[in-house]
Symmetry: C2
Subunit: 139 residues, 2 copies
Amino acid sequence: MSPVSTADGQLRPSHRRTAVVEALKGGNRFVSAQELHMRMVAEGTRIGLSTVYRALRDAEETGRVDVVQAGTGEKRYRWRRGGEHRHYLVCRVCAASRPVEAEAVEAWVASVVSASGFAAVEHTVELDGVCARCQRAAD
Amino acid sequence: MSPVSTADGQLRPSHRRTAVVEALKGGNRFVSAQELHMRMVAEGTRIGLSTVYRALRDAEETGRVDVVQAGTGEKRYRWRRGGEHRHYLVCRVCAASRPVEAEAVEAWVASVVSASGFAAVEHTVELDGVCARCQRAAD
DNA sequence: CTTGTTGCAAATTCTTTGCATGACA
DNA sequence: TGTCATGCAAAGAATTTGCAACAAG
């Protein structure tokens, strides 16, 4: 069954789920569910792939992680610190990420939305390139 | 085999591929490969799903279509008119799309990139919501 | 005990590929 | 006649789900 909120809105405790979150917090880069699972198993955590998927889906639905989609249709997750909505510039080679200052975009989105007649508009802004380090490594 | 360019850089003629492009031009909304295939078959065109996929991949690689990725990891395509790079506001319900004025974002992207040290940066800006018509239909 | 969580394997969904066939230059 | 496009079925890849075993309150 999928995790359910208890009366006070908190998720019921769970070693595994906690472990997933901890593993995610441990990195500053976007990782896929499978990568995260492999990493956890490699570090000795006994956990199933499904549980990792379930934990990440929960985290996504409750807005605790940022998500990007590679062109392959694979999702990559990154723990969201500070609880704010952010956008990132992600390296296509090493998946390192750096948050970018995105106020201008937020403002633009708001103006476009208000003029469109659309409701419940969500936005995705993804930037990906090759970071300076990987550029050097490519030589 | 995958389509190959001839000496003059043009794709070799092909009924099927042309048919895919025509079918795509026939709509103003983003469609998935499978939807497009079903539509073509329903209209009497004899064509295989693989061919639709191949044609769309070609079109994507040569920049003749705009692509968005639904949260499901499924790609949706829309014929690009006028050859310019555009961004769209897409309805989550009916997939109707309207291009948005995106100069502000392009400028923002350029400034972020120049300050980052990243190279070969690509950007994705996707806006999705519920269009006015589908809002009314929901009542 | 009862309820929610986990893991495994099977099932889904979207997309790509291998290969024999068919069509056009 | 040779080359490339096509279709079908099989292969792949990422993710979800059914279900029995299990852990915790």
